[in-house]
Amino acid sequence: MLNKEVSFTLMGVITSVYNYLKPRILGMMVAFLFLAVILVAVFSTAWPSLDQIPQNLEDQSNIQGIGVLIFTEFVVPFEILAIVLLSALMGAIYMAKGDDK
């Protein structure tokens, strides 16, 4: 009795696991393949990095640097981003709006 029940639940588990995996197995495999490719590349690369942690840990605040960068070197992307946001706004409103009438 007991054995039977156990085996039944085991089968049930296997079946449900199987049913869960069946539509996902391809996705999993592909994702793992991709992950493997990336990880192999990541681990076999000698990434350049600063030799040590920046000395002045307190001075880690980079807001100012970022701000400067945004308005000097990256002013063009910033401007473009403005347009992006405008168009996203337009697009989103247009698409999301209900009936015109």
Partner: protein, 484 residues
Amino acid sequence: MDLMLFAPEITLVLTGLAVLLIGLFLPTGSKNILGYLASLGILIALLFTVSSLGTQATAFYGTVSIDALSQFFKIVFLVVALLFAISGIKYTEGNSHTEEFFTLGIFATIGMMFVASANDLVVLFVAFELASLATYALAGFEKKNPRSLEAAMKYFIIGSLSAALLLFGISYIYGATGTTSIPAIAANMDVLVSSPMGLVAVVLLIAGFGFKIALVPFHMWAPDTYQGAPSVVSALLAAGSKKMGIVAAFKVFIVALIALQAEWQIAFAILAVITMTYGNIVALNQTSVKRMLAYSSLAQAGYISMAFVVLTPMALGGGILYALSHGFMKAGAFIATAAVVYMVLSENKDSTDPDHIDNFRGLGKRMPVTALSMTIFVFALAGIPLTAGYISKFVLFSSTIQAGFVWLAVIAILNSAISLYYYAKVVKYMYFLPTNSEKISEPLPYTIALIIAVIGVLVIGFWSEPFIYWSMEAAKVLLIPGGI
């Protein structure tokens, strides 16, 4: 720094904003004027660009450069945008959201133009996204049409995926080189060259750009989207944003990642062969003309990718020239389809697939100008002489042989022979199959757009010298080590 260098972009931004603002105050019935306004703005931008042809400059801390390459591609984008805007006048007739249509189109064009002149990956990525985001909404512009929505949805999801892949790839390049400036990357390639990361980054970038270029297997959205989106938008996508992918790839691979040449040459060789063959073969028995044009557009993308493999000045020039020609041909073909769709819908509002090839029956009688233009476009796409398609194929394929890639040229040429079948099929339907329907008056904006495209196709085909010259100039920009 001379702001005049950015006159075209500024003009476009102002035009876009103007269209948007004026549109707010116009009643639905008189929004037609927006289309004219947009066309005018694009035309002015085009004139600015043409007049500054040959200028060379970098601006904004070296993040943006103006050179022959960027100018050439800007012209391509502006021409396509112009065709888009002119034909859009008819398409948006009576629509209450005309201003969104044109503004999004213009903004997308701005994105493409900035990609063309980007000299920094940040600029490139953001501009790339601008072009994508603006067109997502355009693809779904017919929001009552399930096809259009589905097209937008697929375009959006695959677009986001490829944006993620692109960003992921860029992040590795940034990590390995410590910079996002394209010339600086070229100078700091040691890490990437010596590790497998280089290859991974290259492939991730190819996936990112390949989405726009529609290279197999990153193309899957393209047939669905081109088919489902409004034809005019498909024209913008196939003729414009595809070229944006190409110019981005040119810049990133040939200028920045030239040290990884071997990797991406092989990758592009594989993709080019698969793409042109797949595109042509699958196009053979399509019944939807737009879908057929989409697959043909895959094939053309395959041809253009050959430039990456051959990598001689002539091949790159050929690829760039091909991009221009393809802009005219493909935009023209989609606009011609748009005219047919308009015709079908005006007869039968509930038609589910107005671009079915059966609707092209007897088009030669019903819409003679459209049919003739379509004939010229498909013959140009097939590479019949004295059209833009021929001279571009001529330069591109011949350079392939010159560089010794005879096998690649043979495959390409066989492919272009196969393609004749489905192009000829369209002509057959238009001229040889009978129809009982009446001749109809062709919508003027479509006709004007078609005639512009036809003139473009024929002028490039006939008076090729200046076009070849400028595309060669553009190619030289790519091959000067380290960029500008």
